[in-house]
């Protein structure tokens, strides 16, 4: 045991005796470990962001629309020629369906909001029916949502997102104030809690919700509509989707042989898309990691061969003094593993410093599991690349070795 420890300590000294060379040898491992840990962290971060965003969409919500979210091949003209969604569909679906509890018809557009001298451009304006509050389980910070009556009467009232409140009414209660949306006067009746960004791209806080019918005069009646449906508790999303599909086919009067001329979108579509992206990232990351580790491993092997040759005489002396084969093997193997592990630690520390940067885009942290995986990979690379040179050292003939100059 003591012998092994001494050999390890001697290996450690030798690595540090050749700092520059050891460092250059480490580069491949550094890159490999950097890539595996950074990729792992990024994927877990992206995953978190994705799950949070999916919660915003809701996993029990169906989106009845003209177009599918992700058009796979297909004929774009087929989609294009579909009839538009109509406002009365929501009512009809609610009447016929057992599995849908709420339905909200929506029209969405961008526009500006002005309050006094301040205005915000590019606000996401969601013109929706009163049921939206239940479909999307909206959380209010203050005030209230508009009523069924206000919706039907096309009242000019608005519920504003947290970002808009923050911008237009930094030190003021917005409730009861009048703003202008696309030039039209609206009274603020409620504010929403902060929600964050969807997939890190689109802020749900920079949003204003107004009664659907009130938007006809500012958007025009023929805007692209969609219907958001909430699946009743206790029913599976898949079942509800099938039911809605049948109801829609009957509303549209489709014959059995005809294809659906509408799309029912749900979170699942994002999930499929996302897992493809994730596979892409991990595939690329894995490729880079494997390549870097291979190059790094060969680098270590090469430098260990050089080291064994340079230190042939030293090996001869050690053997003359009684070092057995396994001790010499262990010493040189330790050296390779030490180089690889230090490389791994450098790679990990670079990752740790980069995680801060990643956090600007999404919440990510380097997990313990990933650290353990990275270090294990380093150790294995060290062993694999060190074993052959170390065996060569162990098998040297003491006489030949001690005479070597």
């Amino acid at each position: 045991m003591g012998q092994l420890w001494e050999s390890f300590a001697m290996a450690f000294k030798d690595v540090f005796a050749n700092k520059t060379r050891s460092f250059l040898t480490m580069l491949g491992i550094i890159i490999g470990i950097l890539s595996v840990s950074l990729m792992g962290t990024a994927i877990s971060g992206i995953n978190n962001t994705f799950e949070n965003s999916m919660e915003m969409i809701g996993n029990d919500v169906l989106h009845l629309q003209k177009y599918p979210w992700f058009m796979k091949g297909g004929d774009w003209w087929d989609f294009r020629n579909r009839p538009d969604m109509k406002v009365e569909y929501a009512e009809k679906i609610l009447q016929r369906s057992k599995k849908i509890s709420f339905a909200s018809t929506e029209m969405q557009n961008m526009g500006n909001i002005r309050y006094g001298d301040n205005s915000i451009q590019g606000v996401f304006i969601d013109a929706a029916s009163w049921q939206l509050q239940f479909v999307n389980s909206l959380d209010l910070l203050a005030g209230r949502f508009y009523t069924k009556a206000e919706d039907r009467n096309a009242s000019k009232v608005v519920v504003i997102g947290y970002g808009i409140k923050d911008n237009l009414f930094p030190n003021q209660n917005p409730i009861g104030e009048e703003v202008r949306i696309r030039g039209m006067k609206y009274k603020v009746i409620g504010t929403l809690k902060e929600q964050g960004k969807f997939l890190g791209l689109f802020s749900f806080d920079n949003m204003a919700i107004i009664p659907l019918r009130s938007a006809y005069s500012i958007f025009g009646r023929r805007r692209h509509m969609s219907i958001t449906l909430k699946v009743r508790e206790g029913f599976e999303v898949g079942e509800a989707k099938e039911e809605v599909r049948m109801i829609m086919r009957s509303i549209r009067g489709l014959k059995p042989a005809e294809k659906d001329n509408f799309a029912i979108n749900q979170q699942e579509a994002f999930r499929q898309q996302f897992s493809a992206i994730k596979m892409g990232i991990s595939g690329a990351g894995f490729g880079i990691t494997a390549l870097a580790l291979l190059v790094g491993g060969i680098g270590i092997m090469n430098i260990m061969f050089v080291s064994v040759r340079e230190r042939t005489k030293e090996i001869g002396i050690r053997k003359a003094l009684g070092a057995k084969q396994n001790i010499i093997l262990f010493q040189f193997l330790s050296e390779a593993v030490i180089i690889a592990v230090i490389g791994g630690l450098i790679g990990l520390s670079i990752t740790i410093s980069l995680v801060g940067l990643l956090n600007k885009f999404f919440v990510a942290s380097l997990s313990i599991k990933l650290i353990i995986i990275s270090l294990s990979v380093s150790i294995i690379t060290g062993i694999l690349s060190g074993i052959v040179p170390a065996r060569k050292a162990a098998k040297l003939d003491p006489i030949d070795a001690i005479r070597y100059e």
Binding site: G2, K13, I317, K319, G322, Q325, N326
Partner: protein
């Protein structure tokens, strides 16, 4: 009692198709606490013999007994020891002193002396104590933490001698220990070797110089890989006399 017994030892090197016969049927017996010089012309097989005795090399043919242990035998297969076993014998029974010192260049004097004890599996504390006292014994108490390139030739050879001694070997093998030293330093090294012999060590010394060889009690002369002469020196006869009287 015979410490080592060499019986009809052959060592043949093959370089391609050329065979070099370094030892050709060598016989000798060396007893405990003997002080032996080996002489002979260059290429006569002195170093080869030292390597065989020191278990750094194995003979091609012949019987070799060291301290009651069969290191090599013509008769049984099992008597041919493997690499690890030979390493253990070198560690336990042999102390080498080389012409070119053969110290680890990047290690301190202390660490160099510690090495045989490390490979003997001795604990750190015991190791340090033993290495310390041995360095003091060879007169290097104030140079323990110097590296070889910070020491003079004579000092380096003292470190090497401390290293050879530190694990209490059965034999000290010194192959031209003064070959790289001036005459004054050589004399100092020989004083040390004489002292080591006087405290009970067995010493075998290879040298080309007669006055060095005369320090020993017996001179074995090699020629063409065989013993051509084996005689006592003046020291040896004196010693014998004392032994006879007692």
């Amino acid at each position: 009692m015979a410490l080592l017994e060499l019986n009809n030892i052959f060592k043949t090197y093959k370089i391609g198709s050329v065979e070099v016969h370094a030892l050709q049927g060598l016989n000798t017996v060396i007893k405990k606490n003997e002080y032996v010089s080996i002489m002979g012309p260059s290429g006569s097989g002195k170093s080869t013999l030292m390597n065989v005795i020191g278990c750094l090399d194995t003979p091609t043919e012949g019987n070799y007994l060291l301290d009651g242990l069969t290191v090599h035998s013509n008769n049984s297969e099992e008597a041919k020891l493997d690499d690890n076993k030979l390493a253990e014998i070198r560690n336990q029974k042999i102390g080498f002193v080389f012409q070119t010192f053969n110290l680890l260049p990047r290690a301190t004097a202390l660490h160099n002396v510690e090495l045989p004890l490390i490979y003997a599996g001795i604990s750190k504390k015991a190791r340090m104590e033993k290495a310390h006292s041995t360095l003091i014994e060879v007169g290097l108490g104030d140079r323990m933490h110097h590296k070889p390139n910070e020491l003079s030739g004579g000092q380096r050879q003292r470190v090497a001698m401390a290293r050879a001694l530190v694990n209490n070997p059965s034999i000290i093998l010194a192959d031209e220990p003064t070959g790289n030293l001036d005459s004054k330093t050589s004399a100092e090294i020989m004083v040390l070797l004489d002292k080591l012999h006087s405290v009970g060590n067995t010493i075998i010394l290879v040298t080309h110089e007669h006055d060095i060889a005369e320090h020993a009690h017996r001179i074995i002369t090699l020629l063409d890989g065989k013993v051509s002469e084996d005689s006592k020196t003046k020291n040896g006869s004196k010693n014998k006399l004392i032994n006879n009287n007692s």
